[in-house]
């Protein structure tokens, strides 16, 4: 109840949803359309990617795995940054919902990182002739996976919920600050060891259809990540506030939400 009272005094319209009890129904309404949109975009993207886009003259058909690989790799980095963002909010504003967002995002981020590594290995086998190369990007992606596991493991081993929230928030921020340093250190280490024989940056210019398929797939991956994280946030809210989440926040607030309903419906 305290959060509801606070959020009513807050000026910005979005801060109202910082209260888990208010956010719960909003997330519930957002999840189905996000999942549907994500599935539709994925179907369109995969169709363009597999049916319409031309075969790569160098890599043959094997290149088509990039329609999954590249979006997954982008999401893996973006989600860690999002976790750091929620981490800052957790430590500065002390909102409980932002900590729940960290916990909800971490498994999706870890999955995306794993997917990027896995598809990368399958792409590397026919293209480079090997499943694994200690390339700068691959190595830093692997370290990113460990960083995700670190946040997940930290939460799992701290019993006190509030301490776990803040510790994970701090760990996300420390990790995000370190990611560029890790990336460049691995990059320089790699350039010392071997020539850039397997550089992704030297890839030939992409056909328009390839690019559009990849962007559509990225959007699909993004919507999926948001939707699956929201599902996890909802179950976290039920876990932590088993009675609040189901009840209308209060009579007054309930009426106000009802009013908004009818207004948006009209």
């Amino acid at each position: 109840m305290l959060e509801v009272a606070q959020s009513d005094q807050g000026g910005a319209w979005w801060s109202r949803f910082a209260a888990p009890a208010r956010f719960f129904p909003l997330a519930g309404r957002l999840i189905p359309p996000l999942f549907v949109l994500s599935a539709v975009l994925a179907a369109v993207g995969l169709y363009i990617g597999f049916m319409v886009a031309p075969t790569d003259w160098q890599q043959g058909e094997a290149y088509r795995i990039i329609y999954i690989h590249v979006p997954a790799a982008w999401m893996s980095m973006l989600i860690y940054l999002a976790m750091a963002f929620w981490g800052v909010l957790t430590l500065v504003l002390r909102t409980r919902l932002s900590a729940m967002m960290i916990h909800a995002l971490a498994p999706t981020g870890a999955w995306m990182t794993f997917l990027a590594l896995w598809t990368g290995a399958f792409w590397g086998r026919p293209t480079w002739g090997t499943y694994w190369v200690w390339d700068a990007r691959i190595t830093s992606e692997l370290i990113l996976l460990f960083l995700y596991f670190g946040v997940i493991g930290l939460r799992a081993s701290i019993d006190d919920e509030r301490k776990a929230d803040k510790a994970c928030a701090l760990m996300s921020i420390v990790g995000a600050v370190n990611i560029p340093i890790i990336y460049f250190s691995v990059k320089w280490w790699n350039t010392l060891h071997q020539g850039a024989s397997v550089s992704l940056t030297a890839a030939p210019k992409m056909a328009q259809t390839m690019l559009s398929a990849m962007l559509i797939m990225t959007l699909a991956a993004w919507l999926y990540s948001v939707a699956s994280s929201l599902v996890r946030v909802r179950s976290l809210i039920i876990e932590r506030e088993p009675f609040q989440a189901w009840e209308p926040p209060s009579v007054g607030a309930g009426l106000r939400i009802g009013a908004e309903h009818s207004r948006s419906g009209a």
Partner: protein, 231 residues
């Protein structure tokens, strides 16, 4: 203690904190020896597992030394805050407000004096075992001298974060090892660049930059983590 601390200057607090931690460490000398022994032991495993061929050993010596040093520092990390948190000393330190940061810096410096520094001093011995030439050993020692304080600083954040956690060891490794990879890369790179005739200066400068960055940022993050653990 906090009442008397307030009148002191930060430097005096810092020195007193170092002296206190060193005195405590010297009373548990076996732990100090254990870290050193672990370092030498890990380094001795590689020639047994691989081939004791001089050229191979000279090629991997720097890297092995760094991995062993990283693991030894990891091993020494839990004791940094755990006992002080257990008996309430850490909470008292936190209450000292203006004296808190000097005390934290003192603890970190004392930790390095009792882990990173002895490792650095004993490293030439391992360098000899691995057939490194004199110059390579000198660079290895220099790199360890600049790099191990960063390991202590980064490790301290993770040790503080895992204070409220159940069990220890595995979680600390999971948190600390990925964050310390840059130090490992630059430290090993210094020795390898020398072997390749490129000169180690660039790597040593990067290690120095990492140390300066960690000296400013890590204690701040460490302090935040301790506040979270003790609130």
């Amino acid at each position: 203690m906090p009442a008397t601390v307030q009148g002191w200057h930060g430097a005096a607090v810092l020195i007193e904190a170092i002296r206190r931690d060193l005195r405590l460490l010297l009373r548990q000398r076996s732990e100090l020896w254990l870290v050193l022994l672990f370092f030498v032991l890990v380094a001795s495993l590689f020639p047994l597992a691989l081939q004791p061929e001089p050229r191979l050993l000279a090629a991997i010596g720097g890297g092995v030394c760094w991995v062993a040093a990283l693991l030894a520092v990891l091993l020494s990390m839990p004791r940094l805050f755990a006992s002080d948190a257990l008996d309430g000393t850490l909470e008292q330190m936190l209450l000292a407000r203006s004296a808190w940061m000097p005390m934290l810096y003192g603890k970190l410096i004392a930790h390095w004096l009792a882990s990173g520094l002895p490792l650095t001093l004993i490293a030439p011995l391992i360098g000899l075992q691995y057939n490194l030439d004199t110059e390579a050993i000198a660079i290895l020692v220099l790199a360890l001298l600049i790099g191990t304080p960063t390991l202590s600083l980064m490790g301290a954040i993770c040790a503080a974060l895992s204070l409220p956690a159940r069990g220890d060891g595995a979680l600390l490794a999971l948190l600390m090892l990925p964050l310390t990879i840059p130090v490992l890369v630059f430290g090993t790179g210094a020795v390898e660049a020398h072997a390749a005739g490129l000169g180690a200066q660039a790597h040593l400068s990067l290690l120095g930059a990492a140390l300066l960055l960690a000296l400013v940022l890590a204690p701040w993050a460490c302090s935040a983590a301790i506040r979270i653990a003790l609130e």
